[in-house]
């Protein structure tokens, strides 16, 4: 969908939330849901930052690291992509205390989701770096740049543009996975919706409102990433003489 229909959908979702909140006595649910949504946003933002850092590190180590570190990066990616996100969260939450490592639920949530999405992101970063044309590397050699200079000034900026759309998808995946933290006792949006439902039994309005809030958050990510893509493509298009 284009950026226009996405924005239209965002506006429609916001209006739907406003209408639903205004009808009957649904307004009483809003403070709780919004409080939960704020925690969801916090976890998502910190988780995304961790995911980007882990992904970049893992991809660079896998491509250019010395062999023990390279194997470590491969093991990290395969391990976290091969097991379920919920299993990873439960493992961090229930099993690590047995080894004497207890963490705050927020730390567990951010670590679990960030490491999980970081593993998927590592493949995105690796693909984008490998997608940069060979000639670019050769040109940096001709200009006598060091490997690090070439990577930082020539290769990564070009890979960055190719990474934006897949990262947009991964950020949405991460946002959606934050619902899992409700199962490790964190009162995020899903948890709030579930508890409100447990004692009010107004299932349909509560869960519809929660779904719409998630929709709004995802649409914000999608629209933001589209904008970022447009902005960062500007110089590239001219440079390629399209």
């Amino acid at each position: 969908m284009g950026i226009f229909s996405l924005s239209a959908m965002l506006v429609a979702a916001l209006i739907a939330i406003a209408i639903m909140a205004a009808t009957g006595d649904n307004a009483v649910f809003m403070p709780g849901l919004l409080q939960g949504a704020w925690l969801t946003v916090q976890i998502a933002v910190v988780g995304c930052l961790l995911a980007v850092v882990m992904a970049t590190m893992a991809a660079l180590l896998r491509l250019y690291g010395p062999s023990p570190l390279r194997w470590l990066a491969v093991a990290y990616v395969e391990f976290f992509r091969g097991t379920s996100a919920l299993v990873q969260l439960f493992w961090l939450f229930f099993v690590l205390p047995d080894f004497g490592v207890s963490m705050e639920p927020f730390t567990v949530a951010v670590l679990g989701l960030g490491l999980n999405v970081g593993a998927y992101g590592a493949e995105v970063v690796r693909g984008a770096i490998q997608g940069v044309q060979r000639g670019q590397w050769e040109a940096t050699t001709a200009l006598n740049m060091t490997r690090w200079q070439a990577l930082r000034r020539i290769i990564l900026p070009q890979a960055f543009v190719a990474m934006i759309p897949p990262w947009g998808n991964l950020f949405i995946e991460l946002l959606k996975s934050t619902a899992l933290v409700s199962l490790i006792t964190m009162s995020d949006l899903t948890f709030k919706a579930k508890t409100l439902n447990d004692f009010s039994l107004k299932t349909i309005p509560i869960f519809t409102l929660a779904l719409l809030i998630y929709l709004v958050l995802s649409l914000c990510i999608t629209i933001g990433m589209r904008r970022l893509e447009q902005v960062s493509l500007r110089g590239m298009v001219r440079g390629r003489g399209r």
């Binding site: 969908m1 959908m9 395969e78 391990f79 992509r81 091969g82 097991t83 379920s84 996100a85 919920l86 299993v87 990873q88 439960f90 493992w91 229930f94 099993v95 047995d98 080894f99 949405i172 946002l175 959606k176 996975s177 934050t178 619902a179 899992l180 409700s182 199962l183 949006l189 899903t190 919706a193 579930k194 439902n197 299932t203 349909i204 869960f207 929660a210 779904l211 998630y214 929709l215 995802s218 649409l219 999608t222």
Partner: protein
């Protein structure tokens, strides 16, 4: 003692039994998702109103968490008079969610079939059902098998979410064993390793299938 082998051996049969539930849920949901995805993809190609509605539905399902969809179905369906057990509600939620993802894959596959194929069918006076079944689908499906396979693995890794509505699959069983015996280390680790092994094996299977299909289509 951090790892207790006796306890591990004791819980293995219970976990093996639970893994059957996980696999059943995976396969059942995936089959429904494949059918539903195709229907959604066709609806999206249909008229402007139907197409837009189907697209909006797919977008809505894809941008909200599976967990809350599972809760929604589990708590809302009984209100509509449809009483389902947790397993059935979970399977419906999983297949709806992944059906929407699959519809995107189908759409890519269908759009990749050259226009000329449709035109040739018109020229040969084939009915649209025949065109679709005998000409378009056989060309659209093989290239998208790997992508569909990836969603099978993704679906498999999402089945633990069914534990939230108390379906006794692997993770829920591990959690129960953990809380009964006050030891989470062994059950959770065994479950994690089971997932790792099964997804690595299926990833290898998909790669093999991909190579086979490519060999067949390049003629």
């Amino acid at each position: 003692m951090i790892w207790d082998w006796n306890y591990t051996l004791e819980i293995l049969p219970i976990l093996a039994k639970a893994s059957i539930v996980t696999i059943e849920a995976t396969l059942l949901s995936f089959v429904i998702a494949l059918i539903l995805g195709l229907i959604l993809a066709l609806l999206r190609m249909g008229g402007p109103v139907v197409g837009w509605l189907a697209s909006a539905f797919v977008e809505l399902v894809r941008s909200t968490p599976l967990l809350i969809q599972i809760f929604f179905l589990f708590f809302v369906l009984p209100r509509a008079g449809i009483v389902l057990d947790a397993f059935a509600a979970g399977v419906i939620a999983l297949s709806l969610h992944y059906g929407c993802y699959c519809s995107e894959v189908y759409r890519a596959g269908l759009e990749a079939v050259p226009r000329g194929q449709w035109e040739a069918c018109t020229a040969l006076n084939l009915s649209s059902w025949n065109t679709f079944k005998n000409i378009i689908l056989p060309q659209a499906i093989p290239p998208i098998v790997p992508a569909l396979g990836n969603y099978l693995v993704a679906l498999f890794k999402d089945t633990p979410l069914l534990s939230a509505i108390a379906v006794l699959e692997l993770v829920q069983t591990a959690k129960m064993l953990g809380s009964e015996n006050f030891r989470y280390t062994e059950p959770m680790t065994v479950v994690g390793l089971t997932f790792l092994v099964l997804s690595l094996v299926s990833a290898a299977g998909i790669r093999w299938l991909e190579q086979r299909l490519n060999r067949r289509s390049v003629r």
